[in-house]
């Protein structure tokens, strides 16, 4: 050991900080920052939700905003639509992610290139990807409509005229789901791929020696081994999908006739679009309560899964 190093060490040889104090010193900056930028606004939101705040000022109205939502006809529809949106998009993201990870994990030439080509939807700004989809879905000059109009057999065309996917209620909803899946899939793929690469090779070799087929190895080795990552990915994407705003806003602004209005879009429309800050805040609080309840149930389930698969 050199002289300077020894000197440094002896200089620093004093009574070490207690672990608890040191740990709190380490997390305090992040916690304070989050407190100011997230917790304070959250407290404000809760307070505003009990007022009729708008551009003209604010008065305390108690639970009126919540009672209005409870009695509203459209609000329950919005809640169900949001859960349906979340369930559908998350399932598809997980399925696509699993398929993608398996394909990119296969030992074929060109694998490194394929891995790069999957990532762009995740790397570019969401708003820019949405502009591309906006164009694809366009009835007049979009590629999808263009192809659909070419689907003709003996002078009988499947569609005569433009196919404007974002104009119909049903098609707009599913078109938005497809875009959301497109944005979310690379992230899930990447994490599942990493998890698959972490699976111990010996397990596969042992199974192979025992004569297990490809499907059997996938079902009995890969899936159980990466299960903890699958379930945590599912929760993370569920929360992100529930709160997915930009995609819907850019594609449809919640229309046509509310077909794609999820809770977060509704909140934005009420609070920012119509300047009803109080009513918007009540919706925001409901989002937080619903997500917190959902997450708690999910974490309870996660614990059981982890125990079942013997993970920590």
């Amino acid at each position: 050991m050199t002289k300077t190093a020894a000197h440094t060490l002896s200089r620093q040889r004093r009574k070490p900080l207690p672990e608890g104090v040191f740990a709190w010193l380490l997390i305090a900056p992040a916690l304070i920052f989050i407190g100011v930028i997230v917790a304070w606004p959250l407290g404000e939101t809760i307070r505003l939700s009990f007022t009729d705040a708008d551009l003209g000022g604010e008065n305390w109205v108690g639970f009126e905003n919540y009672i209005d939502l409870w009695n509203s006809r459209r609000f329950p529809d919005t809640v169900w639509r949001t859960f349906y949106w979340m369930f559908l998009a998350v399932s598809l993201k997980l399925i696509m992610g699993l398929i993608g990870a398996m394909l990119l994990n296969a030992a074929v030439p060109g694998r490194a290139l394929f891995r790069v080509l999957v990532m762009p939807p995740w790397v570019i700004p969401v708003a820019i990807g949405c502009i591309g989809w906006l164009w694809l879905y366009n009835g007049t000059f979009g590629l999808i409509s263009g192809i659909a109009q070419q689907m003709c057999l003996f002078d009988h065309c499947l569609f005569d005229g433009p196919v404007a996917l974002l104009a119909g209620r049903e098609t707009a909803f599913y078109a938005a789901v497809v875009t959301d899946v497109w944005v979310g899939t690379p992230f899930v793929t990447l994490f599942l791929l990493a998890a698959m690469q972490g699976v111990n090779r010996d397990l596969y070799e042992a199974a192979w020696v025992d004569g297990a087929g490809r499907w059997y190895r996938f079902r009995r080795i890969t899936i159980p081994q990466i299960m903890p990552v699958i379930v945590s990915m599912a929760l993370l994407s569920a929360i992100w999908t529930f709160n997915s705003f930009e995609i819907i806003w850019i594609l449809t602004e919640g229309g046509p006739r509310s077909a794609t209005t999820t809770l977060i879009v509704d909140t934005y429309k009420v609070a920012i679009g119509n300047y009803k800050f109080g009513q918007g805040a009540a919706r925001a609080v409901i989002i937080v309560i619903l997500l917190a309840t959902f997450s708690l149930f999910y974490l309870f389930f996660l614990n059981k899964v982890n125990k079942h698969y013997g993970a920590k």
């Binding site: 608890g20 709190w24 570019i124 709160n243 937080v288 917190a292």
Partner: protein, 271 residues
């Protein structure tokens, strides 16, 4: 083998289709848009839009720079908060450990859209509206939890013995963190920084259009809206600008992506 290639090709077509469509759109002359029947290709396709876009939106170069600058600033500041906190959660035992971790992860449940109005007031109180900070500060807050979550699982994999050896030699806790743990964690830091950078780059639209009115400071996604004029929308130039605008980050990502998969894998290996 052929089956796998067909499946990969199908998967990639889905992932890359919008980019292909944007590229084709950027080549189309404007009067081409409303031609019927639909044309996949015609002879008047050109790269004219890639020249004209710089004239239509003179600040385009600035917008591209702003996007990247904001993403880098968010990443740097986020990591300063994330590294010590992630270490505490990975290694140390302290009162309210789980409760405080739950607070961080709970932040994941909010997006900017839920808290927009009070956030606007907070930023106004701090005098940050219409500055770069108006877009950087909320970005950092919403990325800290993800950063902690990712880095913590990576740090847990670093062998404890090295730190213990440092303590035996009389090193302080801070010294050990700086000189032993952080150098060992470099691959993990690259992975987490890349993930944070992408998060910061991908989601600046909402904060930009809400908290910033200064044109010179707008990031690319907000700046693209300038192609929507009063008279006509120059779609082809907008598409060209979008593609050129994301190019620098795609190049950076190309260099970092191999660390990303390798680093995530290292973090996922069980002890």
């Amino acid at each position: 083998m052929v089956g796998i290639y067909i499946a990969i090709a199908t998967f990639l077509i889905f992932m890359l289709l919008p980019f292909f469509e944007m590229f084709m759109a950027s080549l189309r002359p404007l009067d081409h848009l409303f031609r019927s029947p639909y044309q996949f290709w015609s002879d008047d396709f050109s790269f004219q839009a890639y020249r004209d876009m710089w004239v239509t939106v003179p600040l385009l170069g600035r917008y591209i720079f702003n996007s990247i600058f904001i993403a880098f600033a968010v990443t740097g500041i986020t990591m300063v908060f994330v590294v010590p906190a992630a270490y505490a959660y990975a290694r140390l035992d302290f009162p309210f450990k789980n409760a405080s971790l739950a607070i961080f992860l709970g932040v994941n449940m909010f997006t900017g859209a839920v808290l927009l109005i009070p956030l606007y007031r907070v930023l106004r109180t701090m005098g940050l509206l219409n500055t770069y900070w108006a877009m950087i500060v909320p970005g950092v807050a919403f990325l800290i939890p993800t950063g902690i979550w990712l880095l913590r699982s990576y740090l847990e994999k670093i062998p404890r013995e090295l730190e213990e050896a440092a303590y035996v030699d009389g090193a302080s806790r801070m010294y050990t963190l700086r000189r032993v743990v952080i150098p060992l964690a470099v691959p993990g830091l690259i992975v987490v920084s890349t993930a944070v950078f992408i998060g910061a780059y991908a989601q600046q639209f909402l904060f930009a259009i809400t908290f910033n009115q200064t044109r010179e400071l707008q990031p690319l996604p907000a700046g693209l809206y300038e192609f929507i004029g009063y008279q006509s929308v120059t779609w082809n130039e907008m598409m060209a600008a979008a593609l050129v605008g994301v190019l620098p980050v795609m190049v950076i990502f190309l260099f970092l992506q191999k660390y990303l998969v390798a680093g995530l894998t290292a973090g996922a290996v069980k002890e």
